[in-house]
């Protein structure tokens, strides 16, 4: 009986220890996660803006979906003036060096590469796509200058009634 009681006590103690450990791990992860937003390069245009083409939190989770949808719009439909576009990502997020020359966005420490390396996700857009804004046929700047402006993003086109996720107070 005593032996059994001791055993049970020991089990409870170890369970508590494991739980505490998990909580500690979770706290550590949360502390790390707060650093996710710090990848916007200071010299990029994005650093001057309140948020991206969509609320920051939405972009963090769904940027791959919106550019994947947009690629078909462009390749098959020939529509290049969309709110979501990889060319737009590069145009706005590319960093500049001391000589005001753009730095490859998939380079070490740059916006795309740094976050993808943090998340351990292979980034292969730039196997084919340009890593600096060069030789553009269309981008956010020309769109802003054009009377028509940008076409709405794919999410708005598909589900106009869906409420947009709340924007974060911090900048990206």
């Amino acid at each position: 009986m005593t032996q059994h009681h001791l055993n049970a006590k020991h089990q409870i103690a170890s369970a508590v220890a494991v739980l505490l450990g998990l909580v500690a791990l979770g706290l550590a992860a949360a502390a790390q996660a707060t650093g996710v937003g710090d990848f916007v390069v200071g010299s990029s245009k994005a650093a001057q803006l309140e948020n991206c083409v969509e609320p920051t939190e939405y972009m963090r989770r769904n940027h791959m979906e919106v550019i994947r949808h947009q690629r078909d719009t462009t390749v098959y439909g020939g529509i290049r003036s969309t709110k979501h576009s990889l060319a737009g990502c590069v145009e706005c997020h590319v960093g500049y060096d001391a000589d005001h020359k753009p730095v490859d966005i998939d380079g070490k420490g740059q916006f795309c590469a740094q976050c993808h390396s943090y998340a351990a996700i292979t980034l292969n857009c730039f196997d084919c796509h340009a890593t600096i804004p060069e030789g553009e046929a269309w981008n956010q700047v020309t769109a802003a200058a054009h009377p028509g402006g940008l076409l709405p993003g794919v999410e708005q086109q598909k589900v106009p009634a869906e409420p947009a996720p709340a924007a974060e107070s911090e900048t990206q």
Binding site: V75, A87, A130, G135, A137, G148
Partner: protein, 268 residues
């Protein structure tokens, strides 16, 4: 290649064409009119001048007319302009590669082809690029659907789905497609390019999508004063390309394959 094309030209047909062109004095040749009849049914309005906001439709079919009589020997203006426009000049020879091998392997969208008639010795120059067939063999053979024809008649490759098998290169009668063998360092935003995909002329689709109705090659040819390449909407009777085609007989290269090409040649 020049010999291949030369062999394909049927001497009897060539004589008939010559006779037909001679018989119809000054106006649209019977053959030219027939070719245009096959190309078009509707007569829609001109291309939109503003950037595209709606998906491409079959209201237009983009195409070119090449007058080989105006194509100058030794001139490479169209090829150079294409290289500039589509970032082909940014390709670098892989380290240690043989120069001759690289010349064969580097991506090329337009080739200058010289034909010589063996009997008469008459030389014809022409630019040969993707012919933007109505029934493209490259699309027929593609196992992933990456090789496709856009609604406005442009035959292109969706590199997101291309697996680099190169069946389309084998199927193309015009040797119009190139394969990217090595990683590409520099590329333009308007012309993505990467290892393991096939590519070819897309009639400067990025220009068309922005509302322009010209291609880099046609502009360069005109700037040189040759005006051998005329670009436009094959479905619009008032477009420059249709106006040019109405004036003289034109034909498709390998018309025996009945691909109804979007690029037509005069004087071959």
């Amino acid at each position: 290649m020049s010999r291949e094309v030369d062999r394909e030209l049927n001497p009897q047909r060539r004589r008939f064409l010559g006779a037909a062109a001679g018989a119809v004095a000054g106006g649209a040749g019977g053959v030219g009119a027939a070719a245009i009849g096959a190309l078009t049914a509707a007569s829609p309005e001109r291309a939109d001048a503003a950037p595209r906001t709606e998906p491409v439709s079959d209201r237009h079919r983009w195409g070119m007319f090449v007058d080989t009589a105006k194509c100058a020997d030794g001139c490479t203006a169209c090829v150079d302009a294409c290289d500039q426009e589509n970032g082909l000049n940014l390709q670098a020879k892989p380290l240690g590669d043989d120069k001759a091998k690289w010349q064969n392997q580097r991506a090329v969208w337009i080739r200058k082809v010289k034909l010589q008639d063996k009997t008469s010795g008459h030389v014809t120059n022409l630019p040969l690029m993707c012919q933007h067939c109505e029934h493209p063999p490259c699309v027929d053979v593609c196992p992933t659907g990456a090789s496709f024809k856009r609604a406005d008649g442009i035959v292109m490759v969706d590199r997101h789905t291309c697996i680099g098998c190169r069946y389309c290169m084998m199927a193309c009668p015009y040797k119009a497609r190139s394969f990217i063998h090595e990683e590409v360092d520099q590329k333009l935003t308007r012309a993505p390019r990467g290892m393991g995909c096939v590519e070819s002329c897309n009639l400067c689709a990025h220009r068309l999508d922005n509302g322009q109705t010209s291609t880099a090659c046609a502009d360069a040819c005109a700037a040189e004063g040759h005006h051998a390449i005329v670009f436009g909407d094959l479905k619009d009777p008032n477009s420059p390309v249709r106006q040019a085609m109405a004036k003289q007989p034109s034909r498709q290269i390998r018309e025996d394959l009945e691909l109804n090409t979007g690029v037509r040649y005069a004087g071959v």
